[in-house]
Amino acid sequence: MDFKVFNKTKQIAALLLFLMVSVSLTMQAEAQNAQNQSDYKIVQSYKKDYASLSKMVDQATSVSEIDSVITQINNLSSTYSSHKQLLDNALYPDTYEAQLQKLQQQAHTTESRLTVMQNQSQKLAQLNQQVADYSSQLKKMNSTTDSLSTLMKKTSSSNARMSRVIREYRESIKKRNDFISSVIDSLFVTYNNLKLPSVKSESGAKTQMGTNGNALKLIQNIAAENSSFLDAHPTLSTDEYVKMYAVQSEFSNMWNKLGDKLLDIFAPGKQQEARKNVENALSQWHSKVSNYTWKAIGATFKEQKIDLGKFNDGKSFNNSLTGYLDNAIKRSRQHADDQEYQKFQDFSKLWNNTVKTKWADNLVKANVMTYDDIANVDQKVSTWGQLAQPKSYAMFIYLGIAIVIIIILAFMLYRAKSTPDTSRE
């Protein structure tokens, strides 16, 4: 039994010795191998790896790609750190550490750039989705307004029902205008903050742009649909036309500021053609909304029997207003009567209750009037008011009567004092 155990122990010891010798020989061979490497080959290999990584840094197109390159640069550093002295000599006047540092710095700069680009790309994808949502929402709104318009034409029976339909119709138009304004704000804020060069160079971004989320198409559609909408709804209120004029003007302003950027993103290589299409659509929209608005404003003044003459833009409207008021002031200076005063009251009511309170802001937004123009008209209205009031003689009559009464009373008092008292006698 003891002999068997001794034998087994001997076998294990022999095995251990064999293993130790093998490991030692392997290590020695490896050390020898390392020592038997050609310095020239090491340097060439380092230069090749370095050049390859440098190229990879330059050509990286995604954050994950550059992260992998950074890991490889770190590996390069650990692989060649034992040859630092050799590489310093071979790379003179550059050094191994300086080269590595430069490469790492380049890689981190590329990583930051690609991270920004990736974020921009994600942001752009979100924007495209948003634009697609806007398109469908606008379609839905158009369809609601059209249905209400049709219903309004058909409804003639019940007054209550009619007024409800009209209210809903007006509400839908207001919502539609507000929605388009919000699209303008949204497009402007988001696309204006977009860094174009990074978006343009980001691979894949362009493919996303060709689909539903095309902001250029959205702008063109909004312009075209508004032109059709105006033709389909020729009897909107003046307030609504003025609001639509302001919206159109804001839209054109947005286009003037963002147009180049949007053309670069959504129509690369076809900017000129795309610009022409959008600008034609915007011009048509402007021409229609302007035409309808000035007609409606003219009609509103005529309803109050105020004849401003002909006007078809902001300048001629302003000239008509000031011309009308200058004439009225001149008339009132010469002859103020009840009729003139009534004219003033009609004008003043329209000016103060409608133009100033409901239209002014939108007329300014539409770039057809300025607040200075409004203040100037306001001053003229005030002057007209002071001159148009008919002069009253009642005060003089009352004053005369009062003087006569005072004289009579004074005379009676004098007579009473000068007459002798006979009752005492």
């Binding site: 038997n36 490497q37 310095d39 000599n89």
Partner: protein
Amino acid sequence: MKNNARLNLLGKIMTAAMLLFVTACSSSLVIKKVDFAQPLESVLTPNSKGIVQDARIGLKFNVMPLQYAETKDTTSVTTQDVRLIRGHAGYYFVTARGFNDVFVMEPSEGTLKLKKKIHITDQGLQNPAFNQRTPYVQLLDGSSASYNLTKDGIKGKEK
């Protein structure tokens, strides 16, 4: 007579002193302990005339004499990449694939003069490479064979 002999001796001593003075004045400046070691070998490809050039270290020469010494043939340039390294003492160690020897060349005015031809193998070097391992120049042939060289030969075998 005695005076003549004295004058003769004095003259000789003065001549010797003058010679010593002139020699002392004309001795050149010497800087010692210069390390010429080239950290990395140069691998140079001969052109059609056998000229190799390393612009980095400023060296240009014709390899045909070395090729002739190895192959006895100068009809065409058969030498491929020439491997060359300067040891710390200033001698150039030159060899190439297929050579049996390493040539230790001593630079002097416009020439490289053979200092020692170190025989390495009879089968020709397969994949030679030099490493600077001061005070030696290491010669590798592939990953298996390694020799530490001095200007006098292989370390331990110097003659």
